[in-house]
Symmetry: C2
């Protein structure tokens, strides 16, 4: 018994039946004696429908007005969810982002939370009311509505949990928790009971679409214990928290990310600072380069290859084309048919054998590795996209993640 | 050149094309050098769609949550309209009821405006921005969203015009203005150039659904000049203002109201206060009685007949049934097949011949009158519903309203 923050995404409240289901889950927590705050996203396709309406009128609408438009989506879902709880017969109140006082900066459509007022919520909790808060939205210093961008409702939930000192922030999704690999690819994949913030951050950024990075970063910063749970099935989820590493497995999960494209610059002039010049051209246009390999030059020419997201590929190629005078090369090659396969685990930093075992698994499966990158808690390799699923299965088997 | 408030209803902004049309009208007024404030309703069927969503989850939802839900409708329309104006390339900002500071009492779903803050709007106008305000909604002293009930957006517009001292408040609808009779019934009906507040109030309450009474009352109180105009056609509308009566026609309009039911109590005990007893029973249940006739009693028995709205008929009959001990009578008759036909005109109070002319018109058309009621600026008669349209035409012809 204490204070719980729950978060439900758009698919969890997409129709009347799902809304009633969520209402029942909330009331369970309330009836167990907890104070309950709930952050909710807009229903199912509401946001997409609103975006389509805007596009029809003005594809270049200001972000300020887009935020005014889109924030209506959560206003609808909080009202409906509150009505569902009223039907069950529990005291409840819905609050928009501005009513709570979720104060953000003024970057419309990608605002950052600066402060969460707790007075209104506390006064409602004191009346033993369930408090339903619109996720994804806040208010800036001008009194205008802002939205938080992708994964915004997760961030709202964590911010509320941090501001109110919740025992746990439960993120309800349509999966049961965080798995060692995508269960659609790896039959033996299983759910983790817990995972550290850092591991979750790597998994999230590597394509395990469970939690958005910003919310995990905020949870880590404010020591908010997260639980990833299913909104549909009654099973234990995965806790994201500070985990004692000693007893833990080295490798916690295997992920695949198809959203990458490979670019190779062949026969670039081998002079100091050439790579720096190339990558600063790209970063000036906000293109993030991920994996990078540079061949050992012969003093005259060298090869540089790297990956970007598929969406950034056309712009990246254009930049290289436009700057031929700077980026002088013999040939340029590129492909989208690559995948990044990664293993994540906080323990691997102190265990040199992990990378070897991973490469061995791929070798045994006759899968070619074109690039490799390592960090303290992950190892990523680039493989042909057609080999990616097999790679995930082979690695998962090799580490006996079961 | 000055400050203009415009109001557009839901059908005027029901789709992208209509929104662009309205945006063009607004920009015209702006480009002519005016400061422009616009109050907008929710798009087309949005409100009905939202109500349907709520009904599916909880038909007895609290009014507080209904207001939270429904107010999202105007938030959508103000954002879309602002985007349309951005597309034309004029500076614009949309504001919700709470952002403006449209302060109301706490009667959710039927709130009354208590005060309108002008600071935010004035600061936006000072930047030469067009200001788009969500109609129909406000905020109460608890910081919660309220809605104003039927005709609420008209009321929002008039309140804004009063608070900001606008030259005129233009109400855009799908009709061209206020007509001497419903043009669908009377071919010769024509648009009035102007009409007084009191006449408009009578016409509105008698079934000419152009302006809601509350907005006309507020306009009268704060001396706001109203203009009723078409949002689709470029024609002069009708001004509602203080009109100099001397040169004006006696009769300004003929209306028909089918939403009435007739109840006759036959053989009621003829004792003092009996009618009062009956009507207080009805008023306790919020049933408004309109026309009333009481026969001259013979000291033993009398007849009392009156009209109520069709919606109130079942409740009224039930109340009479439940109170047989008080309302002792020989027989009760009722019918929905009646219509109230009325003439309105501020001049008629000093001209006894008006009623006679009206009755003559009906007599010539062989239409029977079952009840009559008169006030300073209107005369209403009850006729069979099948005769109502003929009655309107006959009266319109007789007064040569052309």
């Amino acid at each position: 018994m204490g204070l719980i923050v729950q978060k439900y995404g758009g698919s969890s409240v997409r129709d009347a039946e799902r809304v009633m289901n969520v209402a029942n889950r909330i009331v369970e927590a309330y009836d167990a004696g907890n104070d309950v705050i709930v952050a909710v996203s807009a229903q199912g396709d509401t946001t997409d429908d609103l975006i389509a309406k805007a596009e029809e009128i003005n594809p270049n609408a200001s972000k300020r007005e887009m935020d005014m438009l889109l924030s209506s989506g959560e206003q609808i879902s909080i009202a409906l969810l509150a009505m569902a709880i009223e039907k069950i017969g529990r005291p409840v109140v819905s609050l928009t982002g501005w009513q709570v006082g979720i104060q953000t900066d003024s970057r419309y459509s990608a605002a950052r939370i600066k402060h969460v007022n707790s007075e209104r919520i506390r006064s409602e909790l004191d009346k033993r009311r369930i408090v339903i808060v619109a996720g994804f939205q806040g208010i800036n210093k001008f009194g205008d509505i802002t939205t938080l961008g992708r994964g915004g409702s997760d961030t709202s939930a964590v911010a509320l949990a941090a501001a109110l000192g919740a025992e746990v922030c439960e993120i309800y999704t349509d999966v049961d928790g965080v798995y060692t690999a995508d269960p659609r690819i790896v039959k033996d994949a299983y759910k983790l009971d817990d995972i550290s913030y850092d591991e979750m951050l790597e998994l999230a950024s590597l394509g395990a679409n469970v939690l958005h990075n910003r919310s995990v970063e905020m949870a880590k910063k404010y020591h908010v214990k997260l639980a990833v749970k299913s909104s549909l099935r009654r099973v234990e989820g995965t806790y994201v928290k500070e985990v004692n590493q000693v007893e833990k497995m080295l490798v916690r999960g295997v992920t695949r990310d198809n959203d990458c494209a490979w670019i190779a610059l062949c026969g670039v002039e081998d002079t100091p600072g050439k790579a720096f010049e190339i990558f600063s051209l790209l970063s000036q246009k906000n293109i993030s380069v991920d994996l990078i390999i540079q061949s050992i030059g012969n003093g005259v020419k060298k090869d540089i290859s790297f990956t970007v997201t598929e969406g950034d590929l056309p712009v990246a190629l254009q930049i290289l084309e436009d700057n031929k005078n700077i980026v002088n090369m013999d040939d340029i090659k590129w492909t989208k048919d690559v995948s990044k396969v990664s293993i994540v685990g906080a323990g691997m930093v102190n265990n040199a054998g992990v990378a070897t075992t991973m490469f061995e698994a791929l070798y045994d499966a006759h899968i070619n590795i074109s690039m490799i990158a390592t960090s303290e808690i992950k190892i990523s390799v680039l493989v042909d996209q057609k080999d990616a699923e097999r790679a995930v299965v082979a690695i998962h088997d090799k580490f006996m993640l079961k």
